[in-house]
Amino acid sequence: MTGNEYRRLYAESPEKAYAALFKVYCDYVYAIVYNKLNRVAQREDIDECVSDIFADIFFSYKRNGEDYADLKAYIGTIAKRHAINSYRSLKLRSERFSGDSDEEFASFADDTDIETNSDDRETRSILISKINELGEPDSTIILQKYYYDRSSGEIAEMMSMKASAVRMRAARALEKLKKSLAAAGIML
């Protein structure tokens, strides 16, 4: 979806435009937020952040009527910034509550550093290439199950497959991935 398409839809019906934009970019925004937050956030926090991002995007257009030359880049920027802000807020929350017996915050109390280093980057790059080599639908199933932590039933719903088929494919794909990565010197 481009900025022009969004504008045209908006003129017809703002609700339609919102729904269409959400449909197209939901997975993208979720990926950005989940990637930044999942170590410190509960699923509800991630949902909250994603909905905040879309509300901001809808609001920005509604209020300013801006034309976004590159809508995806714009959305990506907004999402990333929101995610980083949420990360910081959650970290602060965990620090404020450190020493508190509330288990909800105990999981935040690590010193996860969002800085990355070159070794990590290289490992990730190899990992993604090996996942891609699995081909579809296995590469998506692998990400859904072992990165997004979704159940086989949920994946089955998203992929229009049977849960048993997802379980089987996920297990086989994981084994294949482990071997492939081991050959590249990476242990899962």
Binding site: Y28, N35, D67, G76, I78
Partner: protein, 490 residues
């Protein structure tokens, strides 16, 4: 970590990796629920926009000129659990004079460091004239000496409220973490360490309109100073309006028995400004009653009035100004020029909005006698900067202890990001990432409106770990666009 998340090494990945991770990860029901949440929030934002602007307006009022830096400071306070609060908030052990050095040029610092003796010198020097003002008991030299003392008080007030107080970033006020304990309240010889001293400072030096402009130090629901259980606390920054006096040599332009007007000029980025201070005597004490900044010689500063490009930029600013001020009493416009394509005609960037949450940046180039849009970018928590080598635009986004630098160029009449670097910080300017020498804040102009007050100002290019000098004119003026353009075109 959940046991099945064997791919956790993909967390916090690079943009291209995240893009690959963009697979369906939500069920239809979850998507529907998230869309509803977004719509509900949107509805709330729209309904509450007026109230929100009002609330945010208070925030903006406290930080009109340096709101971007303040955002950084606020972020740090949040991030670190009040460990560091940005370069505006000084840590314990640093003298106010050290802080002041970050604000002014070395030359200015030298002169200001010796300013304590200027009053005497000026008095001595001017006393040779020692002309008694008709109908008064004071001489011109007397008035000048009085004005010098009050100028120092004005300067101290602005410095105190611009983050130059020495506060302990590790000691936020328990009831409001926006306030930090003052460990040394001395600013250029004025003591801001107790509420009584602050009150006395205000009543001793200011009256009338000028007092009202600074009453936010101690009054209102959100004062700059607050008393805590163990002493005085201050916010990380206030309004910030440093008069850029290089020397304290006021000229007395009118006088009577109980009032006189002193004029003092200062220069910033090639533009000379003059401040007319109305100083009034009451209860046998002289106080600053009002101060007005204006361009010293507007015509001398307008070097490009006939430039059609600059005229178009001015029109764009004016149009946006009119549009936004029709919607809200809180408006801010920032504008810069930067020659992205190296053709000698700098591109024009206009950042605008009603609050930090909705800033946008429009970018234009000059083509075929008209402004041509080359891009639109989000401007929240964003500052204009420049790569000191390539002289091309860099946008700094910094918020909540993290941010990124984005280098821009222009290709096919569109903005293009050349590279992007992320960073983190505990205290702005304290680490390598936020004090790098290859990026400077770009010389910029700003016009903002808060309630009934409108202010225009420019600030020159300066290192990113320093606070830019700037001036303020208490009116809407587009003259500053000419000066900015001339500087960029050079």
């Amino acid at each position: 970590m959940r046991k099945d998340r064997v791919l956790n090494m993909l967390d916090n990945a690079e943009d291209n990796i995240v893009e690959r991770l963009s697979v369906p990860a939500l069920t239809d029901n979850e998507k529907e629920r998230l869309l509803k949440m977004s719509m509900s929030k949107l509805e709330g934002m729209s309904m509450n926009i007026n109230a929100e602007e009002e609330v945010r307006g208070v925030d903006v009022y406290r930080r009109p000129r340096w709101h971007r830096f303040v955002s950084v400071a606020a972020a740090i306070a949040l991030v670190s659990g009040a460990v560091g609060t940005g370069f505006l908030l000084k840590r314990s052990g640093k003298k106010p004079e050290d802080s002041f050095h970050a604000v002014v040029s070395p030359e200015q610092t030298t002169e200001l460091t010796t300013a304590d003796t200027v009053s005497t010198d000026v008095t001595t020097e001017l006393a040779t004239e020692n002309t008694v003002i008709p109908g008064t008991s004071e001489t011109t030299a007397d008035y000048q000496a009085i004005a010098v003392d009050l100028m120092k008080a004005m300067n101290a007030a602005e410095l105190a409220s611009s983050g130059m107080l020495n506060t302990d970033a590790n000691s936020p006020l328990a009831s409001d973490s926006n306030y930090f304990k003052i460990v040394d309240g001395n600013i250029k010889g004025f003591d801001f360490s107790t509420m009584e001293n602050v009150r006395n400072f205000l009543t001793d030096n200011f009256s009338g309109k000028f007092y009202e402009q600074h009453s936010y130090f101690i009054e209102g629901s959100d004062p700059f100073f607050k008393e805590g259980p163990d002493g005085l606390y201050a916010r990380y920054t206030g309004r910030g309006s440093i008069y850029g006096w290089d020397k304290y040599e006021p000229e007395i332009i009118s006088s009577s028995e109980d009032s006189f007007v002193a004029r003092a000029e200062y220069e910033i980025a090639g533009t000379t400004f003059q401040v007319d201070m109305t100083i009034v005597k009451s209860e046998d004490k002289w106080r600053v009653d009002s101060a007005t900044s204006t361009l010293s010689d507007p015509d001398a500063n307008n070097t490009n009035n006939s430039n059609p490009y600059v005229s178009l930029c001015k029109s764009k600013i004016e149009d946006k100004w009119n549009e936004l001020t029709n919607e809200s009493d809180n408006v801010s416009l920032d504008f810069v020029f930067n020659d992205l394509d190296g053709d000698g005609s700098p591109e024009f960037f206009l950042m605008y909005g009603n609050g930090e949450y909705n800033y946008q940046i429009d970018a234009y180039t000059y083509k075929d006698g008209a402004l041509k849009a080359i891009g639109n970018l989000p401007g929240s928590h964003t500052s204009f900067a420049v790569d000191t080598s390539s002289r091309k635009l860099v946008l700094i986004h910094a918020h909540m202890g993290a941010g990124d630098y984005s280098w821009y160029t222009m290709e096919n009449d569109a903005l293009k990001v050349i590279k992007n670097e992320e960073f983190e910080y505990q205290e702005w300017g304290s680490n390598e990432a936020t004090s790098r020498q290859d990026i400077n804040y770009l010389s910029k102009g700003c016009i903002y409106k808060i309630g009934d007050g409108t202010v225009s100002y420019t600030q020159p290019e300066c290192p990113i770990n320093e606070i830019p000098r700037s001036n303020e004119i208490n009116s809407f003026t587009l003259d500053i666009v000419d000066q900015l353009y001339a500087s960029a075109a050079e």
